[in-house]
Homo-oligomer: 262 residues x 2
């Protein structure tokens, strides 16, 4: 009796650092054996783009040959646009999983909200595609992704092996910038309440006009051991399950019980 | 015995349609009597910018005299940048409340994630400033904001009158595009799972190259009567309490109980 062969999964890969970055190449290499990989990613850096979409101008896309036998497209859009274009114009179907990254730099705690990497993953999750964003805590252009590749391979294989995956599954994975032997494990966490205390760096241009650079000091206000910030500080890989229903149900109940807006 | 005078609240106003839009002018007019209003808003349309921030280029800002005696600044940044600049460089303190809008067009359901209006409000909430985003379900440049102004005034006065306001309070208010007499009331709701089914409109430019416009059909998958989409369809103003902790605690518990990633 023949055993039914499970169809090879289609793995959509995107990022926000741009299609030529070392991080997305490392992600492709990490999962290449796990399914049919298709890359659709921005043609320029899109860090900090959040969940931006392009509505006031049209989009372009071009097929590239930079990943050997892996199909790859660069687009003029944001990370979220890339996911939309991939589903509608390239794959003509939903992929089995969407992977975003590996980002050069952390996307833990509140940064999930600003992150183009995580917004692309969230877009896929909204569309009903299980999705994972990966970030390495190293902003450098030539960051070392060796340990990250092992971790990505492990996490993606385990998710693909699951019998039943929630179609809205969305994980925010951050990886400490240390060699594999120093990594203590993978920890399921909550998003820490940690953020940047902004201070703009004020300068004067050659025409005598003021301009401002965004800078800031990162502060963690959440002292629990169940947060992503704690895990990363202690050399664990952090995995935060993320949702796109932003309703604050606690406040909803409070407001319903109050006399407000009657 | 003298009664202690409560200090006049500082009301920060921003938007994503740009500082010259009718919607932000209507918001200023609606709350002018309720405190000291300061406007800090983008110098160009920023719809669909999500939670984008400007990190790769510097920001500019200029004082404008377009709202009579109300202090107003336009910036070259995104809605989120405007909130950060307002706190650090203009007010030099946190305002008592931040209001964003009134947006020309709906920001209900999943649109809260793409919306520059709501991202500005969320940024303020992250900073510990109670915040409300307002949107009118009318995309027109010259939309009628008369009913919206009454509703905004009512909601903001009631929040400012509360004895104790959660510093992270964040509300997403959407207003049906009908005259005041047709509005049935204000309803506390949850975010509906409703979204656009995207289809890119493919065209050929004069050079013979393809380009794509984002289009889509809006579909509501959430049939409950407790959603913002239901409320708006039935001529209620919808108020969705929003949070910035995106942790999916249900999935977190499931993953913790599983053998994944051990």
């Amino acid at each position: 009796m023949a055993i039914a062969q499970k169809k090879e999964p289609i793995i959509l890969i995107t990022n926000d650092d741009d299609i030529t970055s070392k991080g997305i190449r490392s992600l492709v290499e990490a999962v290449k054996g796990l399914g049919k990989v298709v890359v659709v990613a921005p043609d320029k850096p899109q860090s900090g783009m959040g969940h931006a979409i392009t509505i006031g101008s049209p989009l372009r896309m071009n097929k590239l040959n930079i990943f050997g036998d892996v199909e790859a497209w660069q687009t003029s859009g944001t990370p979220v646009d890339c996911v939309k274009l991939a589903v509608d114009k390239i794959l003509h179907r939903k992929p089995d999983i969407c992977l975003s990254g590996i980002n050069h730099g952390a996307n833990h705690s509140i940064n999930v909200i600003y992150s183009g990497t995580m917004s692309a993953a969230m877009e896929a999750s909204i569309e009903g595609i299980p999705s994972i964003g990966f970030s390495l805590m190293d902003y450098k252009f030539d960051a070392d992704f060796d340990a990250s590749k092992e971790i990505v391979h492990k996490i993606v294989s385990e998710i693909l092996r699951m019998k039943k995956v929630d179609k809205h599954l969305l994980l925010n994975v951050n990886i400490p910038a240390v060699p594999m032997k120093k990594i203590k494990g993978i920890k399921i966490c909550k998003q820490s309440y940690a953020k940047y205390d902004e201070a703009f760096d004020e300068r004067i241009d050659p025409q005598g006009k003021k301009y401002f650079w965004l800078t800031g000091i990162f502060k963690n206000f959440d002292k629990g051991k169940d947060t992503d910030v704690w895990a990363l500080k202690n050399n664990y890989v952090s995995v935060v399950p993320v949702q796109f229903d932003l309703t604050n149900y606690t406040l909803k109940t409070q407001l319903e019980k109050s006399n407000l807006f009657k």
